[in-house]
């Protein structure tokens, strides 16, 4: 799967926007050079949401998401994204992109391998979640969670999960690895006082 996020609207035959009722969360094409898809989570209202392989709905989290073609024992996701200041995201959640079983607005649910920013953490985070929903987030070491564009590479293997940024392997985990097929999820959840914006201009995923 290759998505360039170039055009006048999000391809709704591939992506759906999953939010709660009366959402303030939006996902639209950016009118900015190199802007791609703009995922916006304002500080007020129903501000969390995700873009996933799921029909658009305001019915809240969808578990599982509609389509999950990627293998938990052998798959790669490459994306080019930039995240907002970590403090603008919800402390318990944040903004994550990658493999997930569920179209979950806060990167919850089961069976995930995602990369992004955890609210208020100063380094980039890799998250893995197993079938029981037990979750591990790795953010304790650099690189610093800046607001620049980076290219990310996530890889799910039978006994490990990895996250690379700009060609450098940054995280490896053997804990709470995903145990079932997954789709793609890109989510954002701001805190209650700041707006948060995540941009994605390229995403590619394939089974190995």
């Amino acid at each position: 799967m290759i998505e360039y996020f170039t055009g006048d609207s999000l391809d709704s035959k591939r992506w759906g926007i999953v939010t709660a009722t009366s959402p303030t969360f939006t996902a639209t094409m950016a009118d900015e050079i190199d802007g791609g898809l703009k995922i916006y989570s304002p500080s007020s209202g129903a501000h969390s949401g995700c873009v996933a392989f799921n029909a658009t709905t305001t019915g809240g989290n969808q578990s599982p998401m509609d389509v999950r073609p990627f293998s938990h024992t052998g798959a790669v996701c490459i994306f080019v994204a930039k995240f907002d200041t970590a403090g603008n995201y919800s402390n318990g959640d944040g903004s994550y992109i990658g493999f997930a079983q569920d179209a979950d607005q806060s990167a919850g649910g089961g069976n995930t391998l995602m990369g992004g920013v955890k609210g208020n953490e100063v380094t980039f985070t890799m998250q893995t979640t197993n079938n029981a929903g037990s979750q591990t987030r790795h953010w304790q070491t650099p690189p610093t969670a800046d607001t620049n564009w980076h290219v990310w590479r996530l890889e799910a293997k039978p006994t490990t999960a990895t996250m690379g940024i700009d060609g450098v392997l940054e995280r490896t985990s053997t804990e709470t690895l995903p145990e079932a097929k997954m789709g793609i999820n890109m989510n954002a959840n701001s805190d209650s006082t700041n707006n948060a914006t995540t941009y994605v201009r390229y995403i590619e995923a394939y089974n190995t």
Binding site: Y4, D8, D31, I33, D34, V151, E204
Partner: protein, 238 residues
């Protein structure tokens, strides 16, 4: 010996490079991808125009103008929403299209196009980067290939943000065959290659504001229907 890699990204860039905005359009399928492309029309009142997938070998997308005597134009653009039929959609200097993601000081577009109408019967045809997609050539911030009724040869046109333009005439005439156009925008120059041969460069009247992609054809007044096929388009920021 080429290296075989699993990911398309790594075919084009090392993972140590953060790639800019990029898209590839093959124009293959049953309908134009309207998530990516919007359609605009200009001048006239009949309903003959369209942007449809061609049922012909190597057909790609077929851009068809209207037939009335008013002179007709049709364009597709990544920066425009919808398939505006009537009234015509015209973007002015203060009314830019909603989505412009390309960098005028560092980007490239490649497209494969043929214009199926004699050059003398055209008002305008071509494609490239622009701030204001249209079919009549009244662009601000355009850098691209243009064919007009005043000259049999393809031209390399650049206009700045205010619409002042510079034209360089190439040695390639409109023979109604497919040609492969590559247009590079750099910080202080633009260049156009046709079928792999550098045909024109220009350093004057260059745009500075963000752009979108346009592909278009417009018949000259009273000349009837005109068509153009586009079977490939790719663009990226450096």
């Amino acid at each position: 010996m080429p290296q075989i890699k699993d990911s398309l990204y790594e075919q084009l860039n090392p993972l140590t490079t953060v790639a800019g905005q990029h898209f590839v359009e093959d124009f293959s399928g049953d309908t134009l991808d309207t998530f990516r492309w919007g359609v605009g029309y200009q001048n006239g009142s009949d309903n003959d125009f369209g942007a449809t997938m061609a049922d012909s070998v190597d057909g790609g997308v077929l851009l068809t103008t209207g037939s009335d005597s008013g002179g007709r134009g049709i364009y597709i653009s990544t920066g425009v929403t919808g398939t505006n039929a009537s009234p015509s959609i015209t973007y002015t200097f203060s009314n830019y299209p909603p989505f412009r993601v390309f960098e005028p000081t560092g980007s490239t577009i490649i497209f494969t196009m043929k214009v199926n109408k004699a050059w003398a019967d055209l008002s305008n045809a071509g494609g490239g980067f622009t701030q204001q997609p249209s079919a009549d050539g009244a662009w601000n911030g355009f850098v691209g290939a243009v064919l007009k009724s005043t000259n049999t040869y393809w031209r390399f046109n650049t206009t700045n943000d205010s619409g002042s333009g510079t034209t360089v005439t190439t040695g390639v005439s409109n023979d109604t065959n497919y040609h492969n156009f590559k247009i590079d925008q750099l910080a202080s120059s633009g260049a156009m290659t046709i079928d792999g041969v550098l045909e024109a460069t220009n350093t004057g009247t260059l745009p500075t504001a963000k752009q979108t992609v346009v592909l278009e054809i417009m018949s000259a007044t009273g000349t009837g229907v005109g068509t153009a096929n586009v079977k490939y388009c790719e663009a990226w920021n450096h």
